[in-house]
């Protein structure tokens, strides 16, 4: 077992801290970078497809057609415009100037049996926008129908009303679900960037050999490398959470102490990942590439920050279990939007702690008191 001596540990942490303070790049990475990313990406990442342009081809003279058009105009989801012909609409769709086409054929609006359908074509290239578009048109159509039934009781048919409520995010504002996730994704990267090079650098600069000649133990070395970056990382986290609350009106329903505990576990996990990469490679170039490819895209794609993990194939869901951001995304979304839901927070925090332990255990095992 590795022992810990207070004087050695304090001395080593002090040295590491001096280096952090002398080199502004760590502080920039920990504080300025998350601010910049949160600002640009927080505003930039949005799934709220609004004002989608829609071409409407009206081939009928029936007055209901214009009622329908008016229904499409209601709300700020669709921006319909009337075009003269189907080919013209098709061209606009192809060129990306409209996201869909609604066609009201000339037998539209007949109240007798067998009314012609309203055709809606969407651009399926972007499946998500297409699906949202379909939903919006469907909504407009339902509203139009309800209006018709209301004004003309002879059209009464059995129907069912849906009273829907969206919990935790009443206005279905995607920022509310994205910003907490974004904090997790950004801090994953910051944590890895902070520590990915710190051990490789000691090896490349030859200072590791001198450290090995002292009684400094493995535990002291690893703790000494964690403490200063933990402080920095948590500083960055505080700044991010504060800015997220100030800039984006998303509210916070959990308790700050729970956030502190979960964030600390998460920070240990990502710093542990960086230290592990640094220890395993002992080479700044390879460690850099591993840190970028190993954190950025996985955190973006597999954390549930944008793409819902529940919709992924089982194999990918299993792989996502080793992405630390995934657990923290879940915790942050719950704390920001729902509150202290223990059944979400406890298992996810434990998962983070387990991962932190794993990464640090690997780092510990692979740290050698000898050269090889």
């Amino acid at each position: 077992m590795s022992q810990i001596n207070r004087q050695r540990l304090v001395g080593f942490v002090h040295k590491e801290w001096l280096q952090v303070v002398r080199d502004p790049s760590s502080i920039i990475v920990a504080v300025v970078l998350p601010l910049f990313l949160l600002f640009v990406l927080g505003y930039g990442v949005s799934l709220d497809a609004k004002h989608l342009p829609l071409a409407v081809v009206i081939e009928t003279a029936a007055p209901e057609a214009h009622d329908f058009y008016a229904a499409l105009q209601a709300g700020d989801y669709l921006v319909p415009r009337i075009v003269a012909s189907r080919p013209e609409a098709a061209d606009l769709l192809r060129a990306g100037q409209v996201k869909g086409i609604a066609i009201l054929a000339d037998d539209f609006g007949l109240t007798s049996n067998g009314a012609a359908p309203i055709q809606v074509l969407v651009n399926g290239t972007d499946g998500n926008t297409a699906r949202l578009m379909q939903g919006y048109v469907q909504g407009a159509w339902a509203a139009w129908r309800a209006h018709r039934q209301h004004t003309n009781p002879t059209l009464q048919t059995p129907s069912i009303a849906v009273q829907s409520r969206v919990w935790f995010n009443e206005t279905v504002d995607s920022h509310k679900s994205i910003i907490p996730g974004l904090i997790a994704v950004i801090m994953t990267l910051i944590g890895a960037l902070l520590t990915a090079l710190v051990i490789a650098r000691e090896w490349e600069r030859g200072t590791m050999e001198a450290l090995l000649t002292t009684p400094l133990t493995k535990a002291e070395l690893i703790i000494g490398k964690l403490v200063p970056y933990f402080v920095l990382g948590m500083g960055g986290m505080t700044v991010s959470v504060t800015v997220a609350l100030a800039l984006f009106d998303i509210g916070f329903r959990g308790s700050l102490i729970v956030l502190l505990i979960a964030a600390s576990s998460f920070m240990m996990t990502v710093l542990g990942f960086g230290l592990m990469v640094s220890t395993l490679t002992r080479n700044q170039f390879v460690a850099s590439i591993m840190a970028i490819t190993g954190t950025m895209m996985p955190a973006l794609m597999l954390s549930g920050f944008i793409f819902d993990i529940r919709s992924m194939p089982v194999v990918v869901q299993v792989v996502s279990a080793i992405v630390p951001a995934r657990y923290f995304v879940e915790i942050l979304k719950t704390l920001f939007l729902a509150g202290n839901v223990w059944s979400v927070i406890v298992p996810n925090t434990f998962a983070l702690m387990a991962m932190a332990t794993l990464f640090l255990a690997i780092t510990f095992r692979k740290t050698r008191r000898k050269l090889s």
Binding site: G44, V122, L132, L155, M297, F307
Partner: protein, 383 residues
């Protein structure tokens, strides 16, 4: 006069020769180091598979809790419509709203469907019964799409019921279809984007980090004392990165076609053209980073600051149209946004060359600006 012309062409041939030797050296440097080779080539291929499956906005198997207070035939029919749909998975039958609230909070179910006790009664008496739907909004997009599905299932139910009762449908029905990607398969949309994003990461890392590494190892100085001019060194760094990333991009694209069945409807030459111009502009940015930094750590941070916003603000995962105006304006500086349009357009919509060129020239302009910037910075920094 002809003498000077000859001398001019001789100078060019000399410069070309020098650049070719440098290009060869760069390839060897990347290829002969096993570790570099593996970290640059393996991850993109694994990530293509993982991410293509992961990046889906399709909503399937949404865990659903049903609170059916009306034990009538009609209500059971309606519930069956939900549970039979591939979109929803019948996860829990509950007997109180309190239970439902707990399930949603814990994330066990995403949606709660409550059918009121008077459902059948109201329906049969010609009225409009109200069903209650509660969705977990923590994942807003999923919530929105699930709500859309609820609408169409209820609609189907009412129409079928009307038909079975022999009632006329007074209102035109809605028939929706999707062009270019009839089943709206996410992979068709995401694979062309992944191809571009992953090649961008590879190309940026090679250029931004490799010069910083050479500076740290001292080999860069050795290059600078040769007759290689600054721009020749830059070309020598750009070409291998572009060729390597292009090769990797094409391999990834082929995998997308074979494995995910992404249709290639347009001309592959347009994709190559787009990727080449894109990669040149990206590597120029990488070179600018390398001119501004002197250590690998700085280069890593700078490369990261460049790649991350580029990927996120490109329309790769979320549409540019959704962004606020000022962010949309920024995205015009992002080369990835243009190549995404080309890739998706050529793959799925048979985008013609002339349309593609509209996307090519902005990338060329970005490449020209950053390339010039890199040369200027480079001259100042190294000399």
């Amino acid at each position: 006069m002809s003498v000077t012309a000859n001398q001019g062409s001789w100078r060019w041939r000399e410069a070309l020769g020098r650049i070719l030797f440098l290009v060869r050296r760069e390839f060897l440097t990347i290829w002969r180091d096993k570790r570099i080779r593996s970290v640059l080539i393996l991850p993109p291929i694994i990530q293509l598979f993982l991410f293509s499956y992961a990046a889906t906005f399709e909503v399937n198997h949404v865990p659903l809790a049903v609170f059916n207070e009306d034990m009538s035939l009609e209500s059971r029919d309606l519930v069956a419509k939900f549970t039979a749909s591939p979109t929803f998975t019948d996860t829990a039958r509950i007997t109180s709203m309190h239970e439902g609230q707990d399930l949603i909070e814990r994330g066990r179910v995403l949606m709660l469907l409550r059918v009121p006790a008077n459902f059948a009664h109201v329906l049969k008496s010609g009225g409009t019964p109200t069903v209650q739907v509660i969705v977990d909004g923590r994942q807003s997009n999923t919530a929105l799409i699930a709500l859309g599905y609820v609408g169409s299932i209820i609609e189907d139910y009412s129409r079928e019921r009307a038909q079975s009762l022999g009632q006329k449908l007074p209102t035109p029905v809605l028939v929706q279809r999707a062009w270019f990607n009839a089943n709206m398969i996410s992979q068709w949309f995401i694979v062309p984007g992944i191809v571009a994003s992953l090649t961008m990461i590879v190309a940026t890392i090679i250029t931004a980090l490799s010069i910083a590494r050479e500076k740290e190892l001292g080999t860069f100085e050795q290059l600078l004392v040769t007759p290689l001019r600054p721009y020749e060194i830059l070309i020598g760094k750009v070409v291998p990165a572009v060729v390597l990333a292009l090769g990797e991009g094409l391999v990834l694209a082929l995998m997308g076609i074979w494995f995910f069945g992404v249709p290639l409807r347009g001309d592959v030459a347009i994709i190559v053209l787009g990727l080449v111009v894109f990669l040149v502009s990206v590597t120029s940015c990488g070179l600018m980073i390398s001119a501004l930094t002197s250590t690998q750590q700085q280069a890593q941070i700078a490369a990261f600051c460049f790649i991350m916003p580029c990927v996120i603000l490109s329309g790769f995962t979320t549409p540019i149209e959704n962004m606020p105006g000022w962010v949309q304006a920024i995205t015009y500086l992002n080369p990835l946004r243009y190549v995404l349009v080309i890739n998706r357009g050529v793959f799925l919509q048979d985008m013609p060359l002339l349309v593609a060129l509209n996307q090519v020239w902005p990338m060329a302009l970005i490449g020209l600006a950053t390339g010039t910037g890199a040369i200027l910075l480079f001259r100042r920094r190294v000399f």
